[in-house]
């Protein structure tokens, strides 16, 4: 319990640091005054309008997005690692990320950044969001379809990886024939970004993420049963195929929503479950799953803070930061086995 309390405190502290640190220097006192003014406790002076906009419309949604994105990807990674009894499984392994990437590549590199079908038209971030989500959901539907045909987990994993390769092949082709501007836009999207979600879009992102996280909590019992092996789980009366279906559905939706809003964020889903195991030292999902959610939020906030550290000089792309935390953990896991 003490660990949860400390973890919660750390999460809040990092959340506040995310609001204080950024490219523009805003004094800590001003940040708190701005936050206070947002809830009607304090008032701000006219000169603080820029700071107020930056804190409330840029840093706040970015920090909330980072927190939920980290939690969603981490819990997806944990569920897949348990379901497939593979410590190196992660949300990207089933090609769901690649599906989202292919959707975005089609829009950015082939359709010129917009989707038009009859009277239906989307452009800009909305088009990217739509394409990524549809791409991810198509791949997820494929995986779910194969999961009803293939009983063996390893075979299903291989099918997932193959689907990912197919998507990557199509992306390479689109990239090769694209304009410089298109390739650059796609490359930047592929670097991940917690800052793409606006304050208006935030409720959708947060609600879907919370629903996915709650669904994952509901799967704790069968996840624990799966730890004992599929046959034991079936002896305990658990329909492993159905559980696997639900697990894939929940991870699919969580991965699709995070990738659609934040781009393909690397390593968090793979590494954070291992960090959570190291912290609490148990495989019991009653403790491990909430810890993973908490640690996912913490790690993503740390990455978010590091990515804005250069201040006025620019930003470090998110996917250049996440492996700094993820890769050492993976190496540690391999060395320990």
């Amino acid at each position: 319990m003490k660990k949860y309390f400390l973890g919660g405190l750390l999460l809040i502290a990092l959340f506040l640091v995310s609001l204080i640190v950024g490219a523009v220097d805003i004094p800590v006192g001003d940040v708190f005054r701005i936050l206070g003014s947002a809830v009607g406790l304090t008032s701000i002076e006219d000169g603080q309008g820029v700071g107020s906009y930056i804190v409330l419309n840029s840093r706040l949604p970015q920090a909330v997005t980072a927190m939920f994105c980290g939690a969603s990807l981490a819990v997806s990674g944990l569920m897949l690692q348990t379901a497939f009894r593979n410590p190196l499984a992660g949300p990207s392994i089933f090609g769901i990320n690649s599906g989202a990437s292919l959707g975005v590549a089609l829009v950015m590199l082939l359709l010129g950044g917009s989707i038009t079908a009859g009277s239906f038209s989307l452009s800009g971030f909305a088009a990217i969001l739509f394409a990524a989500f549809i791409g991810a959901m198509v791949v997820m539907a494929l995986i779910l379809f194969f999961s009803t045909l293939v009983k063996n987990n390893v075979m299903l994993l291989i099918i997932g990886i193959m689907i990912g390769y197919l998507a990557t092949s199509a992306i390479s082709l689109l990239n090769f024939f694209a304009t410089d501007a298109g390739v650059q836009s796609y490359m930047v999207w592929g670097l991940g970004n917690f800052g793409g979600v606006t304050i208006n879009q935030l409720p959708v992102f947060v609600i879907v993420s919370i629903l996915g996280l709650l669904a994952s909590v509901a799967l704790i019992k069968p996840l624990n049963a799966l730890l004992l092996g599929e046959q034991y789980a079936e002896n305990l009366g658990i329909n492993t195929r159905r559980v696997r279906f639900y697990l894939l559905l929940v991870t699919g939706i969580l991965t699709a929503i995070t990738t659609a809003f934040c781009g393909p964020v690397a390593f968090i889903g793979l590494a954070v479950p291992h960090i959570a195991r190291m912290v609490i030292g148990t495989e019991n999902h009653r403790q491990l799953l909430p810890t993973t959610i908490l640690m996912g939020g913490i790690v993503a906030l740390v990455c978010n803070i590091i990515s804005v550290l250069p201040g006025d000089a620019g930003i470090i792309p998110l996917n250049a930061v996440t492996p700094l935390i993820g890769a050492p953990v993976i190496i540690y896991v391999i060395m320990r086995r």
Binding site: S123, G124, V188, T198, G314, I315
Partner: protein
């Protein structure tokens, strides 16, 4: 001992004298063609040949490429036909050759689908021009079958050369003009390209016209009241990054020439700056004009801008409806402006100083 010392002094003096003179030729005296703005080019004419050196823009003091050309500066050809046969890697240079009246020298192009030049597209349909694939990785077999005298390709820093194209024995003209830091410096490369295809006079007079136009536009701006301020915001976000031209970039300098107050004018970068939203918002939210480039099939609208980034609505230029977009997919911005910086400068001045009555902008159009 004294004799030995004398010999040493004589030898040393001889060695020193060999080091002096032209960097291109140690012995002969050539006639250097003066470049007024282009800093990477050195062209020296000798009686029997012309030598050209392109300085390495990424390694100061080193040479990127050295060419020995015919006496008149044209590319040596295999069978003495008058005009060389060329494969050209970018639409910009295709456009220049067309302006110089040498479009028939083009036998192959790279990235044909992005060459927005009707003449080249027609030549391709008629089978007179072949698409040689990507400019980054041209299709070697097509190049071999064309047997060109030279290939015009853009050099990239540390790209590891041009792969198998390097081994074909065909002269590669490295189009490093885009690494010049001044607009007129880049445009002056047309004199080199013109010389290569036997259109030196045409290129010299075209450049003289560009230079004259550019300077006239600058002097018109200088004649205006010096104490007025016109802050300008450039470009828009790509994902999480707002790429803005550096203070010493071609566009950055040109904005200064157009009498704009560019917020990054004091910056020393010649390329782009990758900035987070916060920085741009703080520095340029009050800019009176917003100029940006975009690439999509149709013209962008204010509503579409908001779907990309809702925060754009907080910029003064957005609120005042003073945003101007240049659609690089449908305009000839990339084809024209490298060798016609006067066109782009005119666009900037037209927008910033409508009181000069220069007409409507050509590339950056109001939304």
């Amino acid at each position: 001992m004294r004799n030995h010392l004398f010999i040493v002094v004589i030898v040393a003096a001889a060695l020193c004298s060999c080091k002096g003179g032209s960097t291109l030729s140690s012995q002969e005296q050539g006639d250097t063609i003066k470049m007024n703005y282009a800093q990477l080019l050195t062209i020296v004419r000798y009686d029997d040949r012309t030598e050209v050196e392109i300085a390495d823009p990424w390694n100061k003091g080193k040479v990127l490429h050295k060419y020995t050309l015919n006496a008149d500066g044209t590319i040596p050809t295999k069978d003495n036909h008058r005009s060389p046969k060329l494969v050209v890697g970018t639409s910009v240079h295709c456009g220049l050759l067309e302006q110089l009246g040498k479009v028939e020298t083009i036998k192959g192009v790279c990235d044909l689908q992005y060459v927005h030049l009707p003449r080249i597209q027609k030549m391709a349909r008629d089978g007179k021009v072949v698409d040689c694939g990507s400019g980054l990785q041209p299709t070697v077999e097509k190049i071999i079958s064309l047997q060109p005298d030279a290939i015009f390709l853009s050099p990239f820093q540390n790209s590891g050369g041009y792969g198998r194209v390097d081994d074909l024995g065909i002269t590669i003209i490295e189009m490093a003009d885009y690494m010049e830091t001044s607009a007129l410096g880049r445009a002056e490369w047309m004199r080199f390209y013109g010389m290569l295809v036997g259109a030196a006079e045409e290129a010299d007079s075209l450049f003289a016209e560009v230079e004259r136009n550019y300077k006239e536009l600058c002097s018109k701006v200088k004649a205006l009241a010096p104490d007025t301020h016109h802050p300008v915001l450039m470009d828009k976000m790509t994902g999480s990054v707002w790429y803005v031209p550096g203070g010493k970039s071609t566009i950055g300098r040109m904005l200064g020439d157009a009498g704009c107050d560019y917020p990054w004018a004091t910056d020393n970068h010649s390329g782009s700056l990758a900035l987070p939203f916060e920085t741009v918002f703080q520095k340029a939210r009050n800019a009176e004009v917003w100029l940006f480039r975009y690439n999509q099939p149709h013209a962008i609208t204010y509503d579409e801008l908001l779907t990309e980034k809702n925060a754009y609505k907080e910029f003064s230029a957005f609120k005042e409806r003073r945003a101007y977009g240049c659609n690089t997919a449908t305009s000839t911005f990339y084809e024209d402006t490298p060798f016609h910086p006067d066109f782009l400068l005119r666009d900037f001045i037209t927008i910033i100083h409508p009181e000069l009555g220069l007409g409507a902008p050509k590339y950056f159009l109001p939304l």
